[in-house]
């Protein structure tokens, strides 16, 4: 029998139906990437996680404009065509919401029926293409007195964040491409700020304005939200960098291993501080650790795939992964993070995630 003829746009096999989990049907809501479904490091664009505060706007690329003003010599408006005409760069980089993993941290072991997607689905990796912000800032003549800039979106929330200027001079880009095509509407079409390694909220989507200043703006998203209460009556603000984290994606809930023998433990690791240098696996609840294999290429500020063969003897076991990054930072246990941040801190939950494999092969989160 002859198969289907070629088509202008391809589709997944009818046997494959991965889905984002949608948190709530509201403009201020999110959806989660099915991490346990993915292989390698790239997240298909239609499965990239979402988090927005005023719904997804519909922006005509012909009418799109980016305004750069404030402490600059030449306030300038760029059309999308202008942005695309500049020299471009493409980089594989992760993006993670700093609220990711909060339910696992705060449930304190009480919730066992969580999949990697339910728990940590607010992270994805894409190849992002755009124009380096340092080039745009040179073009407009950024003044040496500028220490911060405001990034503002054109969604209903007109979301704003203050960003330290050194990120602009380093690796920030204004992105318009994602995995080889224009950004998805959910990811900021037609253009967004992209700050590699930093909490997702600061990579403002549907970007309309950058204002350079000599102090932060203290917007709602960097005061009421995205600040980290600490023990001792303080809260950390401008905590942009995502610390090293790893996560087993197989075997995990709701998977069931159908018998003892060889299984490949798989997962992803990432850090906002450069490269992951090591991922270790424990199959005995953290008593002993062995190195997992990191799949090349190991890119900075990007998900890295790790693998470790495991010969399961059929007895109950607790699996864990632990990442180390190039600064020497080691992914902490939940207890270590509790000591540093308290039980109810609100963001940056990078503690080790344990999984319990029962004798019958069922797997549960063991928090």
């Amino acid at each position: 029998m002859q198969g289907r003829v070629p088509s202008p746009v391809g589709e997944r096999s009818v046997f494959e139906t991965p889905e984002r989990v949608v948190r709530r049907l509201e403009p201020s809501s999110s959806s989660l990437t099915p991490l346990q479904y993915l292989q390698g490091v790239v997240t298909p664009a239609d499965l990239h996680f979402e988090r927005h505060h005023g719904g997804i706007p519909n922006i005509d690329p012909e009418r799109y404009e980016l305004l750069i003003h404030g402490m600059v010599e030449r306030p300038t408006v760029f059309r999308l065509a202008d942005l695309k005409r500049f020299p471009a760069e493409s980089r594989l980089r992760f993006l993670e919401c700093s609220g990711n993993g909060g339910s696992a941290y705060q449930s304190q072991g009480r919730r066992v029926d969580m999949s990697p997607q339910d728990m940590d689905g607010l992270t994805s990796t894409s190849e992002w293409t755009g124009v380096p912000l340092k080039l745009l800032f040179r073009e407009v003549g950024a003044l040496p007195e500028a220490t911060w800039f405001l990034a503002e979106g054109m969604d209903a929330a007109v979301m704003t964040r203050s960003i330290p200027m050194d990120k602009a001079w380093d690796d920030a880009i204004v992105a318009y491409g994602q995995n080889g095509e224009p950004l998805r509407p959910e990811q900021g079409y037609p253009a967004r700020l992209f700050l590699p390694g930093w909490e997702g909220n600061s990579s403002v989507k549907w970007l309309r304005r950058l204002e350079l200043s000599d102090r932060p703006f203290m917007t709602r998203e960097e005061t009421s939200k995205y600040t980290d209460p600490l023990p001792g009556g303080k809260a950390r603000m401008f905590s942009f960098t995502m610390d090293a984290k790893s996560l087993i994606t197989f075997p995990t809930f709701p998977e069931r291993l159908d018998g003892p023998g060889w299984w490949e433990i798989r997962g992803i690791a990432w850090t906002g501080r450069g490269r992951i240098t090591r991922v270790e696996i424990s199959t005995d609840g953290g008593t002993s650790w062995e190195d997992a294999e990191l799949q090349e290429p190991v890119l900075p500020k990007c998900h890295v795939r790790f693998r470790k063969l495991w010969n399961w003897n059929g007895r109950a076991a607790t699996l864990m992964s632990r990442a180390t990054d190039e600064t020497g930072y080691v992914q902490p246990t939940r207890e270590e993070l509790h000591r540093a941040r308290g039980s109810y801190t609100r963001y940056h939950f990078n503690q080790i995630r344990p999984w319990r494999v029962e004798r019958d092969g069922r797997v549960f989160f063991a928090g």
Binding site: V77, F86, R138, E139, P144, T160, A235
Partner: protein, 189 residues
């Protein structure tokens, strides 16, 4: 205010700028884009700084704010800002204790948590009411800001807010906020 750079940070930034410009200067000057005039900037430049920069002329009283609030905000935030379908806007901790890392009993609200009152004006004007953001005139935003502050015992009945009085308000939690001190390396912070 966290975010003002000290001498060492300024020096590090000057270095980062030098390196960034050096990299950018490998490219020619392109001069793409069009100059933005004052009018163009004013149409979009709606942000308010913690020093009050950007606050428009206008004023609004607690009482007028209450009237507006009952019409436009109550269904989502509750009659006294206690929260309804959406988040609470009012509530203070006893003695303004700031124990949010250890204890979940105090809700995070404007009164218990927000460091700057100017943020309230900025956020209400840009994002609220949720179904019609960006439609409130400055007098209404001052009035609503006044009423939400009143719900948090930060403004008395009969008081009126304008640019100067809003900027002068010191929030209970202003000095609770510190810059990020995580730097990588072996220590968990």
């Amino acid at each position: 205010m966290p975010g003002l750079l000290n001498a060492a940070e300024l020096e590090a930034l000057a270095d980062a700028r030098r390196r960034g410009l050096e990299a950018a200067n490998h490219w020619p000057e392109f001069a793409f884009g069009n100059p933005a005039d004052e009018e163009r900037i004013a149409a979009w430049d709606i942000d308010i700084g913690p020093d009050g920069v950007g606050l428009p002329p206008g004023r609004g009283s607690v009482e007028r704010g209450e009237t507006l609030y009952r019409l436009q905000c109550v269904q989502c935030h509750g009659l006294r800002g206690e929260g309804a379908e959406f988040e609470a806007l009012a509530g203070r901790a006893p003695g303004d204790a700031f124990r949010f890392a250890e204890d979940r009993s105090t809700p995070i609200t404007v009164g218990s948590y927000w460091p700057y009152a100017t943020t309230l004006f900025d956020y209400i004007r840009r994002a609220m009411p949720q179904a019609a953001p960006g439609t409130l005139p400055p007098d209404d935003v001052y009035a609503l800001t006044a009423f939400v502050l009143h719900l948090n015992d930060l403004l008395e009945p009969g008081e009126t807010l304008d640019a100067a009085s809003l900027t002068a308000i010191v929030m209970p939690s202003r000095d609770r906020f510190v810059r990020d001190d995580r730097r990588g390396g072996p220590e968990v912070r």
